[in-house]
Symmetry: C2
Subunit: 547 residues, 2 copies
């Protein structure tokens, strides 16, 4: 099994690296052009399509044999969100096709084939996500490992491609702003084709594309994370006793969190509009727009730090045993959260070094310092809060019981698969007393507290007793915190995704690090930061449902 | 526990990122100078020194209470190798001090303090590695977590610093070569101080430094990997039954491997000398030196691929159950191996893209393509071979028994701690029959085969029967393969570490990617590749001892 992992993992890594090498080459000499990259990506997508169709066909034929499912793998609201993002990606494909038709006479045919294949790929993949992402594959292991990892890295490559196009767009924007402010020794790359557009909507299409890119980019990275969990699950044996579903979330007592969150969202949109309109004006408004951005950011981040710390304090106050059941999905979530923080931390520390060492003294120098320090602190507390929440055992005495077959979720397409105990031979579940012995042994080995499964009679009693219990005060506070943090993170995603990138505009860091180093840092850090924000929204939603 | 991990892990990451930000700033504006970075690193080293001294003092006082040890954490030959590297680092510090004394009047005092602290740090750290690296910390967990992670990231930062100095040195060399070949529009950064040296040995010191850098760099990255394992072990409960030591390795039947390996080493040194002397000559010898390098590389890599594949075939031929015992050290080894391959894979794929898309046609164009493809393939098979070897259960019927308290290793300083069964309460060990039950349960859950511990009487019998058995033919072949691969990896480490970097010299990739992109890629990829080679030597040595 380990060997299959390494074999397929290395294959996927090399696929991605070849793609990245082509992307880097596009930036340099025109020997490698965008068409080549798109042709390569199209081939990969076709391969993935064939594999997905084959997989769905095989599963369809084996309908009578049951496949095991990992219910932790995804939730229906994540899939719903992804479907929304996929629809936006489809609109983007439509725009691309329209653009191609306009310039048909002078651009490569690959630019027309790519969006068609991408649209087919998106539709099939969403179908796959809804019906197969939770599968725990046990047959043809090595072959299917290759299929899944191919899908993971194809999506990652599509993400890289989207990130690159976005970065290029922002860089050109930045250059044209500098040009408008009087710097004239810059060459702006023109990406327009050589011929005239035959329809009247070409420039509309190409301008609209950049508003859709952020969604497309998040779609691909999210799908690849989900497929990665599926890959980790291959050959795993699911322990049904920890494979529980949760009841619907209660939402009483939610006032302060949503109100503050909505305020933050509204403020963000205001700031964004003011920033984008003012940044291209005179030098004076340029500076005041940047100052405004930092002051607004400081206020937001301070609130978020407080909320996170309050949540941690509440957790300190009541001790719960940690939940140590195996869950690749949660493990990945934690790693991605900490890993993607690195981008924005690096950016912040660079800003701090730049501010401290700067020779010039623009009005936003010290607000930039405070802002950067708060970014570091806020990510620190937020990560701790999320990890602490995800690794706590749920208070199932008050909420639900793992041994009780849960009612099917409302709106869940998988509800037809609800009674999960037929046809699977799971020795661990069939011999609860022996588990109990083994758990006691393990307990002494790993110093962690496990509970033995209760008898069904106890269970139904306790469930009946607690149904009417209201949420206690701690859960209420935690829920409010989670909602506030969700909305704040959305706000902080919107700002850089739609054009507020003061790191490009303020000039402080650029003076210290030099133009090319700083651009490289930003091209690495901003996409990671965007992913961090959207990923923490997903994790916080999970926290919201758990507390 | 999870929380402590995240808390300290994030602290360490931010420490490193601040250091990296300073390094990046040094390359740009002179507002941040090397002195600032060195002062920061010196502070970190002093902090680590204080923590190590405190730790050793506390352990010393608690001599009567036993601390648990993780015998997988390191082996005495790794510690021996590290001591050697540390001695070379000390020589480097001596050179640095000498250099400082020469230029005392015009350089910052930090340049004198840094080597003194670094030398103290190195000596204390080596002492720490010999006597405490295997400790499994159970008390003061959060505080000691911070101490260990601080040590990990201080060493990583020292690694980064070394890598940066090396890269700068190579870049300057490269520029002066280009200058010699007629390109004149390049500015070479002069790092000499403004005053004259008061002793006669300054230039000797500064030139010798660069031959010692490769060793210093590997020393720090290795130490930080070992400390990381110690950090992962904090709060863990060691299962004594898997905590076995191995007997001394048999070395009969070793002929072909060492001979081929020595040939490779000798050839490498020859190639290196020819390359370094010819590369600065005329355009003609320049090109022929590069061609020679590629042809030699192709021959080496082809042999290594064959050796790796042969090893894998032998493993395919006999089926053994995988060894699934928990072992953070092995886990980390695997991840580092695959992770550090990425650097050289990226470089190879870039070369491939450049060769395919190139407009010029130098004599080494297609040998470069074959060489790059072989680099990818060779890492692929070698990683598979190493992982397969490390995750196989040892044939302990023939070699040793896990339940038998192993005799102390010869030359091991920890041999005084040999009888490990006193004073540790390990329930799992004391109730072997209950483990047996729990293992049977787990076996059904995870489909892996465990063996129940045998009774002591059986054990001693089987040991007595097998002592005289010679190595079988498969083990002999595998041992030869391992030795050959070790020596080949050393060769491939020597070449880039001491100046053979055709990626700088051949110009193909630089034309395609542009000067700054390609330099960035190399600055990222070459240090990773160097680390990969030296790390795979360590892993292969482990393989050699196991088969």
């Amino acid at each position: 099994r380990k060997n299959g992992e390494i074999l397929s993992g290395q294959y996927g890594t090399n696929l991605l690296l070849l793609g990245v090498a082509m992307m880097l080459a596009i930036q340099g000499e025109p020997a490698v052009r965008e068409e080549h990259l798109l042709a390569f990506v199209t081939c990969l997508m076709i391969l993935q399509l064939i594999w997905m169709l084959w997989y769905m066909l095989v599963r369809d034929r084996q309908k009578n044999t049951r496949t095991e499912k990992d219910v932790h793998a995804t939730t229906c609201w994540i899939r719903g969100g992804l479907t929304l993002l996929a629809v936006l990606s489809l609109i983007m494909d439509a725009f691309r096709i329209g653009y191609y038709i306009g310039y048909q006479s002078c651009v490569s045919a690959v630019l027309g084939v790519y969006p068609v294949i991408h649209a087919t790929h998106t539709i099939t993949q969403v179908h796959f996500l809804w019906f197969h992402i939770k599968d725990v594959i046990q047959s043809f292991e090595t072959f299917e490992r290759f299929g899944v990892i191919h899908a993971v890295f194809t999506n990652l490559l599509l993400w890289c491609n989207g990130v690159m196009s976005e970065a290029e767009h922002f860089l050109n924007n930045h250059k044209s702003r500098l040009f408008a402010l009087g710097y004239e020794n810059l060459t702006i790359m023109h990406t327009e084709p050589d011929c005239n557009c035959t329809t009247s909507t070409c420039s509309l299409f190409s301008r609209s594309l950049f508003y859709l890119y952020p969604f497309n980019v998040e779609y691909h990275i999210f799908v690849s994370a989900m497929l990665f969990v599926m890959w980790k699950n291959i050959g795993r044996t699911i322990d049904l006793s920890s494979n529980k579903k949760r009841l619907a979330t209660k939402i009483q007592g939610l006032h302060i969190g949503p109100i503050l969150g909505l305020l933050a969202l509204a403020g963000t949109i205001g700031v964004m509009v003011v920033y984008v309109t003012n940044i291209e004006e005179s030098f004076q408004t340029h500076n005041s727009a940047i100052s405004m951005f930092y002051i607004y950011g400081i206020a937001m981040l301070a609130f978020m730090c407080c909320a996170g710390s309050l949540g941690l304090l509440i957790y300190r106050a009541d001790h719960m045993p940690p939940d140590t059941s195996k869950n690749p999905s949660r493990q990945l979530d934690t790693e991605l959260l900490c890993g993607s923080s690195i981008g924005s931390w690096l950016m912040s520390w660079c800003s701090i070094v730049a501010v401290v060492g700067a020779n010039s003294n623009p009005p936003f120098r010290w607000t930039n310092l405070v802002y950067s320090l708060l970014v570091v602190l806020e990510k620190y507390t937020q990560n701790l809060f999320i990890v602490e929440s995800l690794y706590r055992q749920q208070e199932d005495g008050e909420r639900e019981d793992p041994e009780l077959p849960a009612p099917p979720e409302i709106f869940s397409v998988t509800s037809s698969l609800a009674p999960p105990y037929n046809g699977i031979i799971n020795q661990a579940y069939e011999t609860p007393d022996r588990i109990c012995v083994s758990l006691e042994n393990e307990e002494e080995e790993s110093r962690q507290v496990y509970r033995c499964p209760r008898k069904p009679s106890e269970v139904s009693l306790s469930v009946r007793n607690e149904v009417k219990q209201p949420l206690n005060i701690k859960s209420k506070v935690l829920k409010n915190i989670a909602v506030f943090l969700i909305m704040s993170n959305i706000s902080l995603w919107i700002l850089p995704a739609f054009g507020c990138r003061p790191q490009y505009d303020n000039g402080l860091e650029q003076d210290t690090f030099g133009y090319s180093t700083w651009t490289t840092i930003l091209n690495f850090a901003i996409p990671l930061n965007l992913f961090y924000r959207i990923h923490s929204v997903a994790s916080l939603f999970e926290v919201f449902r758990r507390v």
